[in-house]
């Protein structure tokens, strides 16, 4: 009897309590911003407009979602060892999430596994890494970008002529790295773009890719390589460059020599590239969406922490920009980050 009444009373209390509280409260459905998260963003290089824009996007998201963003990058895109070390440091510092733009597809695979082992989620941005433990990839489709570049260059060349490619670090070129025994040590995005480009040009028998030069990540080096290529192949009619530094170097070489008859399709959208485009030194450029890459990477990182499901792959798209469409309002918005 006594216990029966006690339980009855308790039940009554509980029922009343739930009734009362359920009337008033409802859970918020946006990402909780009360907690500060530690997210480490490690990209390929600490210079260049492209990476600055990625960082800008990441910072925008960091501000929005209350994230303490640590930005790290080696001095050069080919410095794989340094990048590996940075990831290791981040693991040691117990980052909540590591966002990585891997300089080498295989070179960083091991350290990413290591991070996953330490229960730190890893998100790939721009360049993929050879690990199954990566939660999501945010970036553009390199293969498609390469094809777009090839398509436009072939159109500019009217379907015939010799073509040179200025690409960036690749395993075949990086003998100086301690790695060897046949493992791919190139950056995934560089490979994909090259593959896309070559596969597209293979359909045109009159187009010969006469040389593929691999530059380290300096404009000067790219310029020199382009000069060399121009000397080696006097019949060269077109140049495709597959990343920002390569594009700038190549464009400068062409501009300095005043070669009007060499068509060039560049990559990425630095302000100087826009200037070159407007000046007519470069006929077109394939742009990616660095701001979105940075923003979405951080946003998805926060979602990973919150336990929200994130898509396996986010394609932020590529676009071909030329003089005609560069001032279209929607392209303006893509090409020039709104910086205050």
């Amino acid at each position: 009897m006594k216990t029966f009444r006690f339980w009855l009373t308790l039940l009554m209390c509980v029922v009343l309590w739930t009734t009362v509280t359920s009337c008033f409260n409802s859970a918020p459905n946006y990402i909780n911003t009360n907690k500060t998260r530690n997210i480490h963003l490690i990209v390929k290089m600490n210079r260049g407009d492209y990476w600055t824009t990625v960082k800008l996007g990441a910072e925008a998201a960091a501000q929005e979602f209350n994230v303490e963003l640590t930005f790290k990058a080696p001095d050069s895109e080919s410095d794989i060892t340094e990048q590996v070390k940075m990831v290791q440091d981040s693991i040691k510092e117990k980052a909540d999430v590591i966002i990585l733009a891997a300089s080498s597809y295989m070179g960083l695979a091991q350290v990413v596994d290591q991070a996953a082992y330490s229960k730190i989620p890893v998100i790939s941005v721009d360049a993929e890494v050879g690990s199954a433990r990566v939660r999501t990839y945010i970036g553009s489709n390199g293969y498609e970008a390469g094809q777009k570049s090839a398509e436009r260059l072939i159109k500019l060349l009217k379907g015939y002529g010799e073509v040179g490619i200025i690409n960036f670090t690749n395993s075949t070129q990086s003998e100086k790295l301690e790695s060897s025994n046949g493992i791919e040590y190139g950056a995934r995005d560089a490979e994909e773009r090259e593959k896309g480009f070559l596969n597209y040009t293979a359909r045109y028998p009159n187009i010969q890719v006469v040389e593929i030069s691999y530059t380290t990540s300096s404009i000067k080096d790219a310029e020199d390589l382009t000069q060399l290529m121009l000397l080696k192949h006097p019949n060269l009619r077109g140049i495709a460059s597959l990343n920002e530094t390569a594009s700038q170097g190549a464009a400068m070489a062409i501009q300095s020599r005043g070669l009007k008859n060499i068509k060039m399709v560049a990559f990425d959208s630095s302000p100087s590239m826009m200037e070159l485009l407007q000046d007519g030194a470069v006929q077109a450029t394939v742009i990616q969406n660095p701001f979105n890459n940075g923003y979405l990477a951080v946003k998805h990182a926060v979602e990973v922490i919150e336990g929200i499901n994130v898509p396996e792959r986010v394609d932020t798209g590529t676009k071909l920009i030329d003089l005609d469409n560069m001032l279209w309002p929607e392209n303006q918005k893509l090409l020039f980050p709104f910086v205050r």
Binding site: R5, C13, A60, P271, L296, P329, F336
Partner: protein, 609 residues
């Protein structure tokens, strides 16, 4: 149904076996009823009051917050208006100077323009173009790029169309070498002089977003709230997350905003409740839109919410505790009373109800105690009376055939027979047989007065033989009294008493008179003798018990009195008048009942035994 009724009337209440029934009876108990009622009423009142308070406060808080937001947006609107006015002033000054200058490429104008440019940080560039898009003049040091496509740009086309000052949407300034920056362009068709010739041209001034940014950044609408600016066409001029919107990562629902110049409304298109305030700048037609998140506006509401829910919880808890205690206090004495009464019901009349508690309950228990006491008294009385009755009847039965009396009488008969007094023997035996017949009277308790008088006559006849004419007697009865009913053998003990104690010891001849009459519907039988009489003490002893003549028939005078009292009531019975040496008169008084009535009384007697 009947079955249940019979259950509830059982002397010993049996515990129902079904659990459901048990629950319902528990639920019906005073304590649970009081607890539930009290709690539900209190909780209902508390909930209603809190809801009313909540609604009232929440409404006020919301109104205040809305007002606040509107004021903030109003303020921003005012500041921006000032800023736009400032831009316009600069533009007009520049226009003035160019128009009034004798030549556009004069050094004085250049200097003035440079000064104007230097005066404002947010002024990026100024230039004059011909309507064909040819560059005429501009701030010093700026180099025009090639492929500018300026003829297609909006500032150029709108300026050509109207003579008013036009403000462009944000765009990239691609005209001059250096950086590509986002600007708002102000342009107008103006007149200028070149080499003495009056020409029309388009004056362009580009402003960057520094000031607009600063003005808008100050807007704090809660933690997440913000303000943005739209131009007439719905292009976003300024947005705190402009790049995200440009990149297509964020969207702003501008359609409902564009329809109104001045409006405040609640927007739920993003799934979240947002409070949106729209104001329009007069000169540019730009719209300032304040976005505040509803759940942030109503933080007061949420605070109130938590407070009220805690308050309610505490109140409910208190109410439950208080009502449980209160009901227990009220119900406990009643339950105790009930338990005690159950004991009483089970037959323990000696239970003492001693319950303290509420005044009513105390009174109830007191009254119950009194009632129990009375019941006990009555029970005792009944028991006593029944016992006496039995005893009396037993004695009467015994007296019906008294061996001592029989033996004495038979002795007298033998003596008479020896002397050969046959006639007297016959009379004696006849009287004896009649005496016994009436004594037995078929086992009936009630007989008529006639029979009773016959009975005593026979007795006196027998006794007169035994006492050898030591006494005389007379029996006088009214005719009306003869058919009245009486309990049998009430006269014999008294007459016996008179004979053995009054007359036997007397030297003179005794006289016994028996008179029966009907007086005020009462039967009055008077038995008087002229014997020795009694002292007052003896009279008392006779009625209260004690002495019983062993020589007599065994049925005492007291027995007669008790029997009359038990049959007819305490007001009836025997009374004595006696004087030493003078004699005694015993008066019997009892109600006159006809034969039928007497039988009834007899039957009642039978059932009660």
């Amino acid at each position: 149904m009947r079955q249940e009724k019979s259950y509830s009337f059982r002397l010993r209440p049996q515990h129902p076996k079904g659990g459901k029934r048990r629950l319902s009876s528990k639920l019906r108990s005073i304590q649970v009823t009081i607890t539930l009622t009290f709690t539900s009423v209190a909780v209902l009142v508390a909930v209603v009051v809190s809801l009313m308070l909540y609604n009232k406060f929440a409404k006020t808080a919301e109104e205040n917050a809305n007002m606040n937001i509107q004021q903030i947006i109003e303020q921003v609107n005012y500041n921006l208006e000032l800023y736009v006015k400032g831009m316009r002033n600069i533009f007009e000054t520049a226009e003035d100077q160019i128009t009034n200058s004798p030549s556009v490429d004069s050094a004085l104008l250049m200097e003035r323009m440079a000064m104007l440019m230097g005066s404002r940080e947010d002024l990026v560039s100024a230039a004059v173009f011909t309507p064909q898009g040819k560059y005429v003049v501009g701030t010093a040091g700026q180099k025009l790029r090639s492929n500018t496509q300026l003829e297609t740009q909006s500032w150029f086309t709108t300026a050509k169309k109207t003579s008013e000052i036009s403000y462009s949407a944000p765009h990239i300034q691609n005209l001059f070498k250096g950086q590509y920056i986002w600007v708002v362009s102000i342009s107008k068709l103006i007149q200028y002089q070149e080499k003495g010739e009056l020409k029309t041209g388009i004056l362009l001034m580009d402003f960057n977003f520094r000031t607009i940014d600063e003005l808008s950044k100050q807007v704090k609408l809660g933690k997440r709230g913000y303000a943005y600016i739209l131009d007439q066409l719905g292009n976003i001029v300024y947005h705190p997350q402009q790049q995200l919107i440009y990149a297509g990562l964020k969207y702003e629902n501008v359609e409902p905003v564009l329809e109104y110049a001045y409006r405040s409304y609640l927007d739920e298109s993003t799934g979240e409740k947002r409070f949106i305030t729209v104001r329009t700048l007069e000169q540019t037609g730009w719209k300032i839109v304040g976005v505040a998140y509803y759940d942030e506006i109503v933080t007061t509401k949420r605070d109130l919410n938590t407070f009220l829910s805690w308050f309610l919880a505490v109140v409910i808890l208190c109410v439950i505790i208080v009502s449980v205690f209160l009901s227990a206090r009220i119900a406990r004495p009643i339950r105790k009373l009930e338990r005690t009464l159950q004991q009483v019901g089970e037959g323990d009349l000696n239970t003492r109800i001693d319950v303290s508690g509420a005044y009513e309950v105390e009174q109830l228990s007191k009254r119950f105690n009194l009632m129990l006491q009375r019941i006990r008294q009555l029970m005792d009385q009944i028991i006593y009376e029944q016992e006496t009755k039995r005893k009396g009847e037993l004695e009467v039965l015994q007296s019906q055939i008294n061996p001592h009396f029989l033996y004495n009488t038979l002795n007298s008969v033998i003596r008479l027979a020896e002397r050969g007094k046959t006639e007297e023997v016959v009379t004696m035996i006849q009287s004896l047989s009649k005496f016994f017949r009436i004594s037995l009277s078929k086992g009936n308790n009630m007989i008529t007065v006639q029979e009773e008088l016959d009975h005593i006559r026979h007795y006196l006849v027998i006794q007169s033989f035994r006492f050898k004419n030591k006494f005389r007697y007379e029996i006088i009865a009214q005719d009306e009294v003869l058919q009245c009913q009486t309990i049998k053998l009430i006269l014999q003990p008294i007459v016996e008493n008179a004979l053995y104690h009054g007359i036997e010891m007397m030297p003179d001849e005794g006289f016994i008179s028996i008179q029966a009459e009907l007086k005020d519907n009462l039967v009055v039988i008077r038995i008087s003798d002229n014997g020795l009489g009694m002292s007052k003490e003896t009279m008392k002893v006779i009625l209260t018990g004690g002495s019983k003549s062993m020589s007599g028939s065994g049925v005492g005078v007291r027995n007669v009195n008790e029997r009359i009292e038990l049959y007819y009531g305490r007001e009836y019975g025997l009374s004595f008048e006696s004087e030493i040496e003078e004699g005694t008169t015993v008066t019997l008084i009892f109600p006159a009942l006809a034969k039928g009535e007497g039988n009834e009384g007899l039957k009642e007697d039978e059932t009660s035994s």
